[in-house]
Symmetry: C2
Subunit: 190 residues, 2 copies
Amino acid sequence: MRRLADAMGVQAGALYRYFATKQDLLTAMAERMVGSVVDAVDAVDAAGPTGDGDWSARVARLARALRTALLAHRDGARVFAGTHSTGPNTLGFAESLVGVLREAGFGDGEAARALYAVANFTVGHTLEEQAALRPGDGGLTDAGALYEATVAGTYPHLAATLPVLTTTDFTAHFEFGLRLLLDGLRAVRR
Amino acid sequence: MRRLADAMGVQAGALYRYFATKQDLLTAMAERMVGSVVDAVDAVDAAGPTGDGDWSARVARLARALRTALLAHRDGARVFAGTHSTGPNTLGFAESLVGVLREAGFGDGEAARALYAVANFTVGHTLEEQAALRPGDGGLTDAGALYEATVAGTYPHLAATLPVLTTTDFTAHFEFGLRLLLDGLRAVRR
DNA sequence: ACCTGAACACCGTTCAAGT
DNA sequence: ACCTGAACACCGTTCAAGT
């Protein structure tokens, strides 16, 4: 709060004329972060000349746009996960994703739960991705620590998959998980 | 740190004889939290008299055990997501999940990425679940705020799915997402 | 070897007082 | 109406000094 106030040439206490708490400020930041998501996806949906109208392609675009929006800001995923905006951008994202699925023939329960599954996976993934990119903390993907623990302990399966586990290609990891969810939705659809 | 030290009848500074930073303490807590996961699942795997040896059932048990372990502690998901233990419990969980999939015929890349997908979804879901259960913060599932925003704005799809969106049956939400991932893995397997 | 006491440089938040 | 100045009750962390 003091740092933000400094950047605005003001005292920290002055911020409390606009936001009741730091949490409220963070919620407003989260709402702003996802502002680009729905608009960007709608534009592609409207302009798509090929088979881009497919429900699974639309859901994929929404998920990718959410990840991209979070990645565009330092600690974006952590801010988003730690707040719960009910503003038009956040609700608009939910409305779009649920809408795509309902119009594709999914039931209300399936559409609502698919929203949660896709959103929670996307946020969980991006949380991990941004943590791994932070200096001095690489998570499970910290090749050094994982490698040592792997050769020291007895983890044959981790040893065999080390190259993939320590890859920094987070886009590939994200796309794999997203594909699992979409293939799963296709199976649910009967 | 001061509160923990108080509970131990000691000064806060004394804790730094055992952990270099608060982060290290939290990492040790996360490692301890998941201690029960692998053992519990292994016991079921060994004792299962029916078709419980199925790879998808084993992965499901691992994911459920992780969620249960996180739910058993206040802010369990947040602590787990905010740290990156390379201790035997955390690596043992990864080893088990990757092992089940590799032995079921999945490739190294698929197994490693499936681990990330399942773990990130589980942590993302439980983060949301524990946030919703905290007082004064219900997230998207806060029926009141969501209801008002829904009738005020123009969100027909959210309005139609409100009953499901505001359900407090988080187990059902979790199971749905988990099923999507497992069905997706079945599809990947060719 | 382990802990105390005390400090350092911070936090989020409040509120009388100014203009 | 909006901001300052100053405080309150905290933080994580360090470190000489004790035993």
